[in-house]
């Protein structure tokens, strides 16, 4: 009898003392899908969040009843000023009726003004906050980050989702990858750049998001942003060309487009006079997608001619980014990291401290082995 009474007391007190106190209903939470950080005046930062409005998301069943949030767009952008991320979030929180929840942040956008000043603090904030995903995609905005949160891509319900999808197909730079690159010796970060854009040339509303170039970092500061060739070079370097097209001119006006379905980049170290030189072997295989000149690629001669053009183009793109980066002492590919892993003792002794200075003198040879394995419909037959 006594035992039963004691057990009952224990069992009842367990839920009363511990249970359900961190319970929170879905309609008491503001799910942040995208955040942006810009540099404010002095030491302050401008934090902005993008929160989709559940009642405008068009789910079934929300039509009845009434109440709940609503607004003009399907999302809400709020901004707050603070010395650090937590402070900024607290200020935003004072304007919101629901608790800010970072567990579903898809992208984190860093304004270019901040990128120039250094982003390591902002990155560390992602890592240190509980419920903040380190699989959040990182982006650098061309201009203010808030502007990107305010864009409204028509394909998606909110721009955060659109930017996430674009990041995924780009170099897949998540906060985790960026942090790894940041703290690795002999490796620098590369983060995609986004900017508001119109869908057509005459479109001045700039409601869409464009992701074209990349921001190359030196430590945690923005070194330079890539141009067109360099961007392609980065994709080749990071083996991210799958399902993307590589176009190259064959003659002056005639271009060929190849969609890559297999690509590998492999570095090889060779010591020449005690100095490291690298051999980058790039293998690429693709499908011929567009053939402006109607070349007969089944003819071995023509094929070899086309392939050599393609290989040249790829090599140029890779060399463009490597040269630009190395001239500024930025190790974009991570040759230093390669040395750190493979020649660790020599790295510690010889190169570690003045790697950025030696980098411009490192010789990198790029060998491209391209291959067009298939062709799509040949269309009109070439002239005899």
């Amino acid at each position: 009898m006594k035992v039963i009474r004691l057990m009952l007391i224990c069992i009842i007190s367990v839920p009363l003392l511990t249970g359900c106190w961190d319970r929170s209903e879905i309609n008491d939470i503001a799910f942040v899908v995208a955040t942006g950080v810009d540099k404010g005046a002095k030491d302050k930062f401008l934090y902005s969040v993008q929160i989709p409005l559940p009642s405008s998301m068009g789910g079934a069943g929300s039509s009845g009843g009434g109440g709940g949030t609503s607004g003009e767009g399907p999302y809400l952008v709020a901004q707050g000023i603070g010395g650090n991320e937590r402070q900024g979030m607290e200020e935003i929180q004072t304007k919101l009726s629901r608790r800010i929840y970072l567990g579903h942040r898809r992208v984190h956008i860093l304004g270019d003004s901040l990128a120039k000043a250094g982003i390591s603090k902002s990155l560390n904030a992602i890592l240190s906050q509980p419920r903040s995903r380190i699989s959040t995609y990182l982006l650098i905005s061309n201009g203010d980050a808030v502007k990107l949160l305010e864009t409204q891509p028509r394909m998606e319900q909110y721009s955060g989702e659109g930017m996430r999808e674009m990041s995924k197909t780009s170099i897949n730079m998540t906060a985790r990858n960026a942090l790894q690159d940041l703290y690795r010796e002999g490796k620098d970060m590369v983060i995609p750049i986004v900017n508001p854009a119109g869908t057509t040339k005459t479109d001045k509303t700039k409601k869409e998001v464009q992701m074209g170039s990349f921001a190359v970092f030196k430590d945690d500061k923005l070194a330079f942003s890539t141009n067109r060739d360099e961007s392609a070079g980065i994709l080749w370097l990071f083996e991210k060309m799958q399902k993307k097209s590589a176009s190259f001119p064959v003659t002056k006006n005639e271009e060929l487009s190849v969609q890559i379905f297999e690509q590998q980049t492999e570095p090889k170290l060779k010591m020449v006079d005690g100095k490291p030189t690298f051999l980058l072997t790039v293998r690429a295989a693709g499908v011929l997608f567009e053939n402006e000149g109607n070349y007969r690629i089944e003819d071995p001669k023509t094929y070899r001619f086309i392939i050599s053009k393609m290989e040249n183009q790829i090599e140029e793109e890779i060399q463009a980014i490597l040269k630009h980066a190395h001239s500024q002492g930025v190790d974009v590919y991570g040759f230093g990291w390669y040395l750190y892993k493979n020649k660790h003792s020599e790295w510690e002794q010889n190169w570690k401290n003045n790697w950025r200075k030696t980098l411009p003198n490192i010789k990198v040879t790029v060998v491209v082995d391209a291959d067009i394995q298939r062709t799509t419909s040949i269309g009109i037959k070439e002239k005899e």
Binding site: P15, P54, G61
Partner: protein, 519 residues
Amino acid sequence: MKKFKKLLKEDPKSLPSEKTDKPIEADLSINIDRMKQLFKDCSDIVFRHINAGEVEAYLVFVDGLIDTNSIQLHGINQILKEVERERITADYLIERIISVSSVKEITMLEDAVKNVLKGNTVLLVDRVNTGIVIDAKGGQRRSVSEPETESVVRGPREGLTESLRVNTALVRQKIRSNRLKTIAKDVGEETRTGIAIMYIDGLVSPDLLKEVQARLDRIKIDGVLESGYIEELIEDNPWSVFPQIQNTERPDTIAANLLEGRVAIIIDGTPLALIMPATFWQFLQASEDYYHRYHISIFLRFLRIIFVFIALTLPSLYVAVTTFHQEMIPTNLLFSIASAREAIPFPAFVEAMIMEISFEALREAGVRLPKIVGQAVSILGALVIGQAAVEAGIVSAPMVIVVSLTGIASFTIPRFNMAISIRLLRFPFIVLAGMFGLFGIVLGILILLTHLTKLRSFGIPYLSPVVPLSMKGLKDVFIRVPWWAMNERPSQTVKGDRIREGEGLKPSPGKGSEEGDQS
């Protein structure tokens, strides 16, 4: 609490029993007087007086329980025609005069009373100190019809009835073997319900049989109206929600279980027979599993196992994930749920409880009502709860989906008694989820597993052959191997004769033609 314990304690003295163990006297009038005394105010007991020449006799029977025709033809008529005074002995009557197939001699008045109550006719003749029991039972009984709780697409359509004899005959028709034994017993001081313990000699383990009989002998109760009385009186763990004895309406299920060395108890007055021992997995198996082709059976069994988990945990998982672990939901799904929940005034836990309880009420209402009204109720319920509640913004659409999926999942469990246990357990799980989130669910599952592992049914671990593991037994748990590979009987019940079928039964072209050549 003490009073409760007293109630639980059985007290054999409280059961009233009249002593009628007096021998049948040679004087007919004494016997009749005694019997009339016993059957005082029983208007359905008939004392038919026969006066054939110089012989006086009485036929005693219950009106409505006997086959009037055969008593008339083979009893009364014969006696009236042929009896001569000098030769009256019980043997003479039995052998020469009464032409009913089953006739018995008794010497005690108590037996006479018992037999009358069973539906037999007792003949008491003057100057004979034995009574004659004429077994010509009749009366109105439901005929054999399709079992309503266990319908199948493929398989026999006959189900047990309320009559013990019909039921044992149905099983005997399936197993025409002299090894099929049927031990008769009476349970219930007042109802004297006939029960039959059926088993196959040589397959059943003697210990099991002894245990079953011992437990049945322990029963001292005034009445047994349904198999449930016996089930609750003989099961291993009376506090468990899980059924430890299987019940079935199907003679083929009984036969299959007897062939696997189990014991069946058939109870007069109910179409449900008990099968023991039972394991957890047995309740997830339908008789059809063995009749369909094995591919389908394997698929269905996996489906059922998945749906048992859904029936048990889906509402609680929904509550836990939406109120504690929002980061676990894929973002887009989360926004769908969020937009649906936007106008809902209740927390997810309350919402789940409202929906689950109204679903159970709906089901209960549907079962109790007459069939035609029951349909109306289910349509009404589906309309009200499924649509109006969502439109009115009282319940969210995802919750309706969760509850209906859970409902469907619980109906995929073939045995009703297991389905109701699982449905019952769902509520504590929702409460746990509402208080502790996923942690609570894991805790609940842990407690449940501990309980299940501890549970035994007639000495057999409830989760066997999975816990403790027996690889051979797994042939018929999650999967059902084809019949040509099911060459052994389950080791947990059958100890001796394990071989079920011959070697090399797998059909193949070569084997077929060999036989064809010979014939």
